[in-house]
């Protein structure tokens, strides 16, 4: 899993039918040590009601995505599975 910041959202009506009902958020990975964003920006499924500007945990495996969404029909690759309150890097 990786840390990322939610920087926007994506609206898409014509898509794979397994994706109906899921929120598509725009995320940007960032390096927690330097707090610098790591391009490029990608689209992730939201499973933790994240809002724009939140620091989130993104799961990058499709199998785990199916478990998170509890739906084996929706084939996903990036899934937001948690909103970070704060993190402490020694």
């Amino acid at each position: 899993m990786r840390l990322a910041k939610v920087v926007g959202n994506v609206v898409s009506t014509i898509k794979d039918d397994g994706y109906a009902g899921y929120k598509l958020m725009l995320i940007e990975y960032f390096d927690p040590a330097t707090k610098k964003p790591l391009p490029p920006r990608q689209i992730a499924f939201d499973c933790a009601d994240a809002g724009v500007g939140d620091i989130v945990i993104v799961n990058t495996d499709g199998g785990a995505g199916n478990m998170l969404l509890d739906d084996n029909y929706a084939i996903v690759d990036l899934t937001i599975c948690g909103v970070v309150d704060h993190y402490d890097l020694r």
Partner: protein, 94 residues
């Protein structure tokens, strides 16, 4: 999933038989607004044409999205982008 713009079509008659019937398109990846490299993507939606702003899924999931047997693709177009709301701009910094 990453985004791109469909820039061309591709016809390949001699190919793996599992790729039969899978439409192939040329898509230019868009990374933070800047055009990236042009890749060959399988069109899972079946409706994509030149100039469409699409998003694609990669690696194993691209093969799994066909949900039938072994379709050996690594990039599949799965949807069209109606609106792409970048609330925080790319050089938004901290």
């Amino acid at each position: 999933m990453y985004t791109g713009i469909v820039t061309g079509t591709l016809v390949a008659t001699v190919k793996d038989e599992n790729l039969a019937g899978v439409p192939l398109l040329l898509v230019q990846k868009i990374e933070d607004g800047k055009p990236g490299d042009i890749i060959v993507a399988a069109d899972h939606t079946g409706q994509a044409g030149c100039g469409d702003h699409v998003y694609m899924i990669g690696s194993k999931e691209a093969a799994r999205i066909y949900r039938r047997g072994n379709i050996p693709v690594d990039v599949a177009i799965v949807g069209f982008i109606d609106s792409y709301n970048e609330v925080i701009p790319v050089d938004g910094g901290e």
